[in-house]
């Protein structure tokens, strides 16, 4: 057999070509590196892999986002490289992320610090959110005028939801 996996791991593309996979033995190319190892799948989620110096427990679980893999206490999300590229949200004009006022995690709005029509400076605090009892201030990504406030105190909000729309003024440099 010879099956190829194009994977994305920690932002890196990794190509795995399995040459042999049977009787608890695997021979593969991982990019340019040849690895031969014995393995034992003890449960659906736990694999022991012996490659090189010693035996290594690996935990794995498949989810719609990809396969979670845990080695030595560290968790990795392994995705199909093609699906990962296709699924990534693209933004107009290739503007980098963090250009919108949106919470970094599911949160509750504590207070809104600005009003519609108000001018804001770049970096000015606009919304305070709280998650797991810790408060975080969300800042204006650029100078502008508050066009629309889309949240209110006490409301549950999710990452990706734009809480305050700011209309850019001046010629603030894209960073």
């Amino acid at each position: 057999m010879h099956v190829r996996f194009d994977l994305k791991i920690a932002g890196r593309d990794v190509c795995v070509r399995l040459e042999r996979l049977d009787d608890g033995f695997v021979a593969a190319w991982v990019d340019d590196r040849r690895i031969e190892a014995s393995f034992a799948a003890v449960t659906k989620n736990v694999l022991y892999l012996t490659a090189g110096p010693g035996s290594q427990k690996v935990c794995l679980e498949r989810t719609p986002e990809g396969t979670y893999v845990n080695v030595k206490g560290a968790t990795w999300l392994v995705r199909d490289a093609h699906a990962a590229d296709a699924g990534r949200p693209r933004r107009k004009g290739g503007a980098p992320l963090q250009r919108e006022v949106t919470p970094p995690m599911p949160s509750v709005v504590v207070s809104v610090l600005v009003e519609e029509g108000q001018e804001v400076e770049q970096g000015q605090g606009v919304v305070v959110v709280s998650a797991m009892k810790m408060e975080t201030t969300l800042y204006a990504p650029y100078a502008g005028v508050v066009k629309k406030i889309r949240c209110s105190a006490g409301e549950k909000v999710m990452p990706g939801t734009v809480l305050v729309e700011i209309e850019r003024t001046g010629r603030e440099q894209e960073r």
């Binding site: 694999l47 679980e61 893999v69």
Partner: protein, 496 residues
């Protein structure tokens, strides 16, 4: 002895308390919020009562609902765990009025010690050294700023009612003071229901050492030695150990004596913890008394062999301590690592979500207090503690090695955890040398990145797993899978 105890808490601590109750043959009643309906503490409880709602204020902090649940289920006592109502004097008083035993100290002791500035005054009067700072609390921002200026920057802003790092801020400059006081006051209000805060001198690079005490209703007071809790982030402990590597035998003796004196001065009953800050010269300052079971109590249980929760229940039931100070010895060394749902690469920001898989470490000297199971949800409403890994070994060095092994065997997937970070802290030379101060994490995280050298093995394991789960037939034969069957497979490199 009680036949039914209500555990007014959630998460790992509720599960841990229920374990001792089960050993003692006591029926447990759990309570839960809407988002916790599938939580482990609900599943573990003999009976579970829905509180309705999800915010802390309408659930685990709602005194009326908790009392009603205890009444409905016939609980004679309530164990509050830590956080929530654990140090709420009003709640303890209400229990006393309702004829339900509050498993903790009397309400007036909680009130006096929970008032951090009053506690400072009591200890000062009792000859225990306290950190220079305000002796009366305030919510008046202008007054607080003025006091801060008198004390001299840097200062620490603290909730007068709080604990656990909530509502706490270090302020370096006068300019940042007002904003920090406002935020601390608001956090204090949210977490503890009081906007009162106070300002004290900020000690640079201190160590945080605390002493566990047990006191029964007859006035017998014992200490269970110290815990070193200096490894903190956001003023919240993440690694604790005992014995403290920073105490010499004479300092250990005097700090434990000071803790006993503090407990006697306060008229303390039940389990409590006297916290101290230790400076480089071995001088120590009273910080506060925690009138509850501490998160890190298991390290003390490991080295002393005392089940602190069992003792709490016995004391609350009016039983005398059948132990003497000489019976309590420190045997070996214990380290606890707190596993939170948080991202060490992003200022330890909480990270709620669904745990898709978990496997806890096993083996000699390992204890895991946990609320995890595969598929459980970590809600955003509460403190994100998932589990505590506690290891015990003969010596500190052996304990460090054991902790490293256990952390590397601890698999939590689906939510981010600081497990790789904790393993690197424990493995560090500075930690091995016992150079643990409260600045440790800030210094260590600088320049720390997760080790990504294992990516090849991860990729290979993922490929094996994908192949096995997709390609194995019922009778165990490996077959080729059509490309369209799996978006994971690409036949670009396929050579028959």
């Amino acid at each position: 002895m009680f036949d039914t105890i209500l555990v007014a808490n959630r998460g790992e601590i509720a599960v841990r308390i229920m374990a001792t109750c089960r050993e003692m043959g006591i029926r447990t009643v759990g309570v839960y919020s809407d988002v916790d309906r599938h939580a482990l503490h609900v599943i573990e409880a003999d009976r579970a009562v829905a509180l309705g709602g999800s915010n802390p204020a309408e659930t685990y902090l709602d005194i009326d609902k908790i009392i009603a649940a205890a009444r409905a289920e016939g609980a004679q006592a309530i164990h509050p765990g830590y956080g929530f109502l654990a140090e709420n004097a009003q709640f303890a008083r209400r229990c006393e009025q309702e004829g339900i035993v509050f498993i903790g100290p009397p309400s007036d002791v909680i009130r006096d010690l929970g008032d951090k500035t009053l506690a400072r005054r009591v200890m000062h009067a009792g000859g225990v050294p306290v950190i220079p700072g305000m002796m009366e609390p305030s919510s008046d921002i202008r007054e607080l700023v003025q006091k801060a200026e008198e004390i001299g920057f840097p200062v620490m802003v603290k909730s007068a009612k709080g604990g656990g790092g909530k509502g706490m801020r270090v302020v370096e400059t006068p300019q940042a003071c007002a904003e920090a006081c406002e935020a601390a006051s608001r956090e204090s209000m949210n977490a503890f229901g009081s906007a009162d805060i106070y300002v004290e001198k900020y000690l640079r690079s201190p160590r945080h050492v605390e002493v566990q005490v047990l006191a029964d209703a007859s006035g017998k007071v014992l200490h269970l030695y110290e815990r070193e809790c200096s490894i903190q982030r956001r003023h919240q402990k993440i690694i604790e150990e005992t014995p403290s590597p920073s105490l010499t035998p004479p300092v250990r003796r005097s700090i434990c004596e000071a803790a006993l004196a503090a407990a006697r001065a306060a008229g303390y009953v039940n389990a409590g913890t006297v916290e101290f800050l230790l400076d480089e010269e071995g001088g120590f300052y009273f910080l506060e008394v925690n009138t509850r079971l501490q998160v890190e109590h298991p390290v003390t249980e490991m080295v002393t062999g005392v089940d602190i929760v069992r003792r709490q229940i016995e004391i609350a039931a009016g039983m005398p301590l059948d132990l003497d100070q000489d019976d309590i010895v420190q045997r070996g060394h214990a380290i606890e690592c707190r596993i939170y749902a948080e991202d060490p690469m992003n200022s330890f920001m909480p990270c709620p979500g669904k745990v898709v898989f978990v496997q806890e470490p096993k083996g000699p000297g390992i204890r895991v207090d946990s609320c995890l199971y595969p598929g459980c949800t970590v809600p955003m409403e509460y403190d994100p503690i998932l589990a505590k890994l506690v290891v015990h070994a003969e010596t500190r060095d052996a304990c460090i090695q054991r902790a490293m092994r256990a952390l590397r065997e601890f698999a939590v997937m689906g939510v981010l955890t600081p497990i790789p970070f904790l393993a690197d802290v424990i493995a560090s030379e500075a930690f091995r040398r016992g150079e643990t101060t409260t600045d440790f994490v800030d210094d260590f995280i600088e320049g720390w990145t997760p080790d990504v050298s294992g990516a090849d093995i991860v990729a290979l394991a993922a490929a094996i797993h994908l192949s096995l789960s997709r390609e194995r037939t019922v009778d165990g034969h490996v077959v080729h899978t059509p490309a369209e069957y799996s978006p994971w497979l690409s036949l670009k490199g396929f050579r028959p």
